[in-house]
């Protein structure tokens, strides 16, 4: 009985906080936009009984999904988001891995402090941290002033309102999500394994590629998911730091919802986004499962 309850808890959690909201979003995505409160049609009228439910279902259709294919804006935005998320994830990994590696190889008494430093930015509001990048990256901002003072450049660089600023914002914001799982992984890594690899003829570098990297694979994958998934739907960072030409699905979603007041299309955009995100995760898990079974 107690076991049953323990198994049920995560499922109930999932049902209450994911499945039910998702079903509602799917339902809205199958509706039509209407000038009403709430602004879509049909509404489920339970007072009409069985007939009401039947009419309700007969009114639902996939029109909004077909609509998404009629305008190249949507797939371009999805693609552009995927690209931005992928590049940001790669950059975050490139920067985060050495940091995690450095932390894991630091003296144990230093590690707690270093960990603290990584987590510290979370104590400030995310929004304020992104806003402060405006002050750093703008034409008359800290970075340009500094570079001009150094004499590296003689014209201020245009960074703010470009895709570069978006990358900076995403990498900065999500870096801890990359560092922490990799660090957790590397910290457990037995130093003797590296010595063993060197003993067996590896240089420092090849020991890193042949032993450290494969053994931190699960941390790398976890970190990449933690960065890639929120980055793909990111709205705040491209809005604040990106230029008007930065096309991201989060912004499109916002416009559909707020400017067009088209909740059904907005929901369709969200459903497609979820599918785009969930499919690779499921494929990956399947693959992991297979590997695990194969090695049994």
């Amino acid at each position: 009985m107690r076991r049953l309850v323990l198994i049920l808890v995560p499922y109930l959690w999932l049902i209450a906080l994911f499945l039910i909201p998702f079903v509602i979003v799917v339902k809205i995505s199958l509706s039509d936009v209407a000038l009403a409160r709430p602004p879509y049609f049909p509404q489920l009228d339970l007072t009409a009984g069985w007939a009401g439910i039947r009419t309700f279902f007969s009114e639902l259709d996939f029109e909004n999904f077909t609509f998404l294919t009629t305008d190249d804006l949507y797939w371009k935005a999805y693609l552009s988001s995927l690209k931005i998320a992928a590049i940001s994830t790669a950059l975050t990994l490139l920067i985060g891995y050495p940091i995690a590696y450095g932390m894991a190889s630091a003296r144990p008494e230093w590690r707690a402090t270093l960990m603290m430093l990584v987590i510290l930015p979370f104590w400030t509001s995310f929004l304020i941290r992104v806003y402060s990048w405006i002050g750093i990256l703008s034409q008359g901002g800290l970075l340009n002033t500094f570079l001009l003072w150094l004499g590296v450049i003689d014209q201020p660089l245009t960074i703010l309102n470009t895709e570069i600023a978006v990358y900076i914002g995403i990498v900065y914001t999500y870096l801890p999500f990359m560092i922490l799982p990799i660090y957790a992984n590397l910290e457990k890594l037995d130093g003797a394994l590296i010595e063993a690899a060197e003993d067996l003829g590896c240089s420092r570098t090849s020991a890193f590629w042949l032993v450290t990297i494969p053994l931190s694979k699960s941390g790398i994958i976890a970190g990449c998911f933690l960065v890639f998934i929120p980055a793909i739907g990111e709205f705040v960072i491209p809005s604040l730091l990106g230029g008007s030409q930065t096309l991201m699905i989060g912004k499109v979603l916002y416009e559909e919802f707020f400017s067009n007041r088209d909740w059904p299309v907005a929901s369709a955009v969200a459903v497609v986004l979820l599918v785009i995100l969930i499919v690779p995760i499921i494929l990956f898990q399947r693959n992991e499962q297979k590997n695990r079974e194969a090695s049994q």
Binding site: D72, S244, Q245, S259, N260, D262
Partner: protein, 361 residues
């Protein structure tokens, strides 16, 4: 009237908590009232005033359409108000509870009738125009002393814009403001929403798109005042705010606001009571309090926008009532136009067009 960008900041998730009889929830634009009026209201009426702010019509509209916002008084802009009335978001005003309605200005009422015929659902709070803010010395440097600072050609003629690009031009990130202006420049009715007209507006905007540094609806206040940009197409009150900041800073920046001579968009922020307001009684009390001439004048003196209250004008300070940028002359007033809201289909075309203008996609 400000826009979407970061409405999140103002998303003070208000729980539609149990509202006691003696509480009224007001949801207004940020920085849009003299705050001493709030305590004055509480003192006079004994009603607790809970005052929240937002910074985008879209955010307000989403709350109104979703329902259950918990607010008693909200302040949408005319075009948004009209659509929300059609969606059934507001309740009719009980005019017997609003004796101060007599103070309102018929000139403005005539115009707001376009959105809310007969003022059944709303009263005007503030109104203003959308026009051109310039940093005079910089623009004269770029275009010479005879720069057309009071004409839409300043911002829509590629020849002018090419020269202004290097000193910086910002446009509002609000298609409902920019499209009518482009239509006015093209000599078309600014309220046209047909495909032919929108195509024309797109042509005008795409021609100057490369010279625009940014589409944003609030950054231009600071950017203008600091001299980071030299031209902004924006809301009157905001540009006047930039003017005063620059004057205070004495940084060589001289801002001037002009409503374009080809015609300028006139907008109205309206106070209305949501259909599901927890305390409509107190909401009426608040509206009546606001329509008191002295209170209304205090608000205008504070925010530098004109109001729709005739009786308040004798209490306005000279730099408000006397500034043609705030209270335009009869002649200019005649050239101001109003627009009606876009329907759902048209709205989609509009948003899509705007995305194309901004992103090139």
């Amino acid at each position: 009237m400000k826009t979407p960008l970061l409405s999140l900041t103002a998303t003070l998730a208000l729980t539609a908590a149990a509202v006691q009889a003696e509480e009224v929830h007001v949801y207004n634009w940020s920085d849009y009232i003299d705050e001493s009026l709030l305590s004055k209201f509480e003192e006079e009426t004994g009603i607790d005033l809970v005052y929240d702010v937002f910074d985008s019509n879209e955010l307000l509209e989403t709350k109104m359409l979703a329902g259950g916002s918990g607010y008693d008084v909200v302040v949408p802009t005319g075009t948004f108000l009209q659509r929300q009335i059609m969606a059934g978001a507001f309740q009719k005003l009980d005019k017997s509870k609003l004796p101060n309605l007599d103070n309102m200005w018929d000139v403005i009422e005539k115009r707001t009738d376009a959105y809310d015929p007969g003022g059944e659902y709303s009263i005007n709070y503030m109104w203003g125009t959308t026009g051109i803010g310039v940093n005079m010395p910089a623009v004269e440097d770029a275009l010479g002393a005879d720069a057309p600072v009071d004409s839409l050609s300043l911002i829509f003629d590629p020849a002018n814009m090419e020269k202004l690009a290097s000193c910086g031009v910002h446009f509002l990130d609000a298609p409902t403001e920019m499209i009518p202006a482009a239509l006015a420049y093209a000599g078309l009715d600014p309220d046209r929403k047909d495909e032919e007209a929108l195509a024309k507006a797109e042509e005008v905007l795409m021609a100057v798109r490369p010279y625009i540094q940014k589409f944003h609806s609030s950054e231009y206040i600071n950017a203008l005042a600091n001299g980071d940009i030299c031209v902004a197409f924006g809301w009157s009150g905001d540009i006047l705010q930039a003017r005063d900041r620059a004057a205070e800073a004495e940084n060589g920046v001289e801002i001037a606001y002009n409503a374009p001579k080809e015609g300028a968009l006139m907008w109205f922020d309206m106070m209305a009571i949501p259909v599901d307001a927890p305390n409509p009684e107190a909401a009426h009390t608040f509206l009546n309090f606001i329509m008191d001439p002295e209170n209304m004048a205090a608000a205008s003196n504070y925010v530098y926008y004109a109001n729709g209250n005739k009786a308040s004008q004798e209490f306005l300070s000279e730099d408000v009532i006397g500034d043609p940028a705030i209270y335009p002359s009869e002649e200019t007033l005649e050239k101001l136009y109003t627009v009606t809201p876009f329907g759902p289909k048209e709205q989609r075309t509009l948003t899509r067009l705007w995305t194309k203008v901004k992103s090139g996609t």
